[in-house]
Structures are given as C-alpha cells and as structure tokens.
C-alpha cells in the first residue's frame, strides 16, 4: 500500500478524561485507503524532548468527511503534547503504516481490547460490520474511567466490559469475563490489542480452544516503515519488523 506524508488539521480535540483524548484530523484532499489495524507515525512539534515520531493507531476513518480519529493516551511528553493540540493546529502524519487485521473466515468474532489498545478496534469493528459481521467487544480497564467512549463501540456491536476494581462490568481482567470461560464460546476468531500480558493470556486461551487469534503488538519504533530494523519481534521466522510485518500477527506465529 502506498504511504503518504500529510499535514492534517485538528478539527476537534475531545477530552475523555484525565488521560485520554480523541483527536479528529482532517485532510484537505481525499484520504487514501486505510485498513483496520494500521497506524500512523505522528510528528510532535514543539515538544523539546520528543525527537522521533510517535506511532499511533488509526482509531476511526470517515472517508466522506476526509477525517481520521486518533485515540491518544497521555503517558509522556509526546502524547501529552498531542493531547494539548487545539482546533486549527496542524499534525504531520506518515501513514497508513503496517499490515492490518485480516478478513475473518467466520461471522463470529470477538474483539478484545485493554487500555489504549481499544483504539484500533473501533475502526475494525466498523469495517467488519460493513462486511456483514457484527462483532462482540470485550473491553477491559482498571476502573470505569478507563473505559472510554463505549457508546461508539455500542453502535457497532455488543459491548462487554471488565474492570479491575469492579466499578463497571465484570470484576477482574478480560480473561475473567464469562466470554472467556471454556465451553462453547460463541466466536471462532479473536482480534486483540492491549497490554502484552493481557494479549498473552487471551492468545493462550484462544490457542487452547482452537480459536484463531490475531494480536496487535506495540514496539519502540524509529522509522515505522521497515527501514531501521529497530522494532523487531521474535517469530517462527526469526526477527521480523513489527512496523511492516505487523503490527498484527497471528498469535501462533509469535515466539511468546
């Protein structure tokens, strides 16, 4: 897929809570095709200690409005600077990068997200729905404040939640949710994105039950386009780049 470098204009910065914002970015021409699971390398200007671009998933795409959304969790100077952007500010993106979640062979799919890993699942869910598949979501967070813009996900499919403190949904981690209990689980393809420990238990569960499982990995990236070889992950084929061979991998391909 062809990659682009473009200046987007911030048309909205919606603050969800202390930690999360959703940026809506508009391009002044047609958007290229963007697949669910892909990401952008974002240049953060005016942040003195942010030298490299920051990889951020495409949270949502609206071709008609020529808009994309980024869900940003503020954890350091780069993401905090993104979080402070205002309407009218520019943001330079190299995009769309990486492979994508696959087209499932089944109609029964579960999308499991945790933390800011929920970001790519909204666009994935929307795309699945366009193709006649109504996904189930299972979203986990520390507490109810960590579960963000659930209404958007609800428009796409059934939403199930877990919180570590039990303040919403099932108490515990996603793996403790009834959907992840043995016995007919009602889905045979899992897409998951979130903290690595979470994805590992989800993948283990899936493998045990013969369910196909695609995971979206994070990694420290410099280029995002396969040029620097900084972002490798260990697979059955040895070191491959998370930014080009991934970020989405079949869980059985990884040396986890």
């Amino acid at each position: 897929m062809k990659k682009y470098i473009d200046d987007f204009t911030v048309v909205e910065n919606r603050r969800l809570n202390d930690e999360y914002v959703i940026l809506t970015l508009q391009l002044d021409r047609e958007l290229p095709e963007i697949l669910p699971g892909q990401f952008a390398e974002v240049r953060v200007d005016n942040a003195p200690n942010t030298f490299l671009r920051r990889p951020i998933s495409i949270h949502d795409v609206n071709l008609k409005k020529r808009q994309i959304k980024l869900l940003v969790q503020e954890i350091g100077e780069g993401t905090r600077t993104m979080g402070s952007l205002q309407k009218g500010d520019k943001l330079n993106l190299v995009y769309p990068l990486g492979n994508s979640f696959s087209d499932p062979d089944t109609k029964e799919v579960l999308l499991v997200g945790g933390g800011c890993g929920v970001a790519p699942l909204l666009y994935l869910g929307r795309k699945l729905k366009e193709n006649g598949i109504t996904p189930k979501f299972l979203l986990g967070a520390r507490d109810r404040d960590g579960l963000i813009s659930l209404d958007e996900y609800e428009k796409v499919g059934e939403v199930n939640v877990t919180t570590e403190d039990g303040s919403l949904g099932t108490k515990g981690f996603v793996i403790h949710h009834p959907l992840m209990r043995t016995g007919n689980p009602g889905y045979d393809h899992i897409f998951t994105c979130g903290p690595e420990p979470m994805m590992k238990v989800v993948a283990k569960y899936a493998e045990k039950h013969g369910i196909k499982c695609e995971v979206s990995l994070e990694n420290r990236m410099a280029c995002g386009i396969g040029a620097c070889l900084c972002c490798v992950t260990d697979t059955k084929d040895g070191h491959v780049c998370t930014c080009t061979d991934g970020p989405v991998f079949d869980s059985t391909y990884l040396k986890w």
């Binding site: 990659k3 030298f51 386009i225 040029a227 070889l229 900084c230």
Partner: protein
C-alpha cells in the same frame, strides 16, 4: 545553474553530494512512495555480512535528547541473499548504490567484498569497521590502526571499485586511523558512525537496550562529527564523506565547509522521509545565494583566519 556533481574518484561520481546512510534507509525501496529516490547522490544500503544474522534481541532502540540509541546489530540476510534477491530489485535505480560491508573476521569482510565485486551496478562499498553493536569485529576493527589496516589491506586485494571506509568516532585520534586506511588504498573515508552510548530506565532500573550499550546518532552528535570531519580532512588527501546529525541543508553545508566532499543523512530520514531531497534543494539554494558555481567549492571552505 549550480553544478552539484561531486567526483569521489575511482568510479564514484555523484549527481549531488547527498547520500543516505547505511541502516537508516533500508534498500531505498522503503522510501519510494515518498519521492523519486534516483534524485539522491547515492544510497548506502544496509550493513551486509557473510551470512544471515538475526541481530540483537529486542529492545533495540531508545530515544535520547535530540538523538537515539540503536542496537540493531547488523541484522541482515547475508551477502548471497542480497545478491540473489535484493540486488535484482534495486540495481536499476538511477543513483549510486553502495553496499555497507561488515564482518566478524578479516576473512568475512574479504568474502563479502569479493561477492559484491561481481555485481555490476554497485560502484562501491562502504567498509564498516565501526559498528558498535556487535560482539565480535565491528568497531573493534576501527579503533586501532593495525586492525583497521588489516581489513582494508585484505579487501583492497579482492575489490576493484570504490572503497569508502567508515570510521568510528569512539577513538582518541580519528585522524590517525584515517591516515592509516588511506595508506592502505581506501578511496574515501566516511564518518562518523555512532558514538557508543547507553540509557537506563530509572523506574525499572533496567537498561533500555537489550545490549545495554548502543550507538548514538542524531543532532546530539553533530558537533562531535563536525569536529572529526574537520580533523580528518586535514590529515588525508582522499575525499571525506561527512555525517552525523544532519537534519537540514545548513547542517550539510557545515560539514562540507569543514572539509567533506559529500554527506550522508541517517537518523533524519526517520523524522522526515523527505529530508534528503530537501537538503539537496537547500544546498542548491545556498550555492545560488552565495554565487557558488560548483558545490565542490564548499569543501573545506571554512574561513579561519
């Protein structure tokens, strides 16, 4: 019209003085979507070794103030794979493709160079005797005169085209090493490779790189690189190729004024994939503004009276 061409001799003529640095520009293909890479003066492709190398474990990268550390460790599929699979795909780029050659032993350098010698559209190699990220060989060859000499001497015997030797900045006297490799028949020297550095995460108390230390690049190292280019260009007669932290045309011009005949751009490609063409344009503009007819006039043009 400014004449941007630079002749580095022994078969290496550049349409302009801007090349991309090894390990930061893949095989060129990665950047094809962004601009016509035949506009470049040259591309130094990834570090290539005798056989397949997996490189170092993850994590391999850490950001630092105005720079980055990497510990890739020469991951590549080996020279045979390069010749068979990659070379055919890229050999018709209308620019100079140089292969960055690495090894753990003198024999490995020799072996790789011999195989590259057979590839028609490769006008030269860059001998990497300065990689800080491998356990054996690499930088060890570039930090003492006798070992540097042994590599160049062996490779010179089997390789006919342009040999550019990439020097390590992790030395007491870089000019001395440059003179030594010049004496063995190197056609040019390029510098700097990365400075050996380290980063720690104070919270977890762990190093940020799997290899603990790694190579520092980016604008942070530019003052050191510029100084070394200046020192080396006064010590040798062969052309000097300058790199280390170039982000803008002004940076590139500074390297040329300090004595470089050409430059390479590394880390900056990650921040702006279009940087190399912007630098070419910027050098041209500068020359026009300063009534410089040929870019070669900039080389060593620093005024120090």
């Amino acid at each position: 019209m400014v004449d941007l061409t630079v002749d580095l001799k022994n078969g290496l003529k550049l349409k302009n003085p801007v090349m991309t640095a090894s390990g930061t520009f893949g095989y060129g293909e990665e950047y094809e979507d962004f601009f016509d890479i035949s506009r470049l003066g040259g591309i130094i492709v990834k570090g290539t070794t005798g056989s397949h190398r997996e490189g170092n474990p993850y994590p391999r990268m850490a950001e630092t103030p105005h720079g980055m550390l990497n510990a890739v460790g020469l991951q590549n599929k080996g020279v045979d794979y390069f010749a068979r699979e990659i070379y055919p795909r890229i050999k018709d780029y209308n620019t100079n493709l140089l292969v960055n050659v690495s090894g753990s032993t003198v024999e490995e350098y020799e072996d790789v160079a011999r195989k590259i010698n057979e590839l028609e559209n490769i006008p030269g190699i860059e001998l990497n005797i300065s990689c800080p990220n491998v356990k054996e060989g690499g930088m060890a060859f570039g930090t003492s005169c006798p070992s540097a000499v042994s590599v160049i001497n062996a490779v010179r015997k089997v390789y006919d085209n342009h040999i550019m030797v990439k020097l390590s900045p992790n030395v007491t006297n870089v000019a001395e090493i440059a003179s030594a490799v010049e004496g063995e028949g190197a056609d040019s020297v390029s510098l700097i490779n990365t400075l050996l550095g380290m980063a720690i995460d104070a919270e977890s108390r762990r190093p940020l790189l799997s290899t603990i230390t790694g190579g520092l690049s980016g604008p942070a190292v530019k003052p050191v690189a510029l100084r070394m280019v200046w020192q080396v260009s006064q010590a040798v007669k062969i052309p000097v190729v300058g790199l280390g932290g170039i982000m803008t045309a002004t940076d590139a011009i500074e390297f040329m004024l300090a004595g470089a005949s050409a430059v390479q751009i590394g880390t900056a490609n990650f921040i702006d994939p279009l940087v190399s063409v912007k630098v070419i344009k910027g050098i041209e503009d500068y020359c026009e503004r300063h009534s410089v007819n040929s870019v070669t006039e900039l080389t060593g043009g620093m005024i120090t009276d």
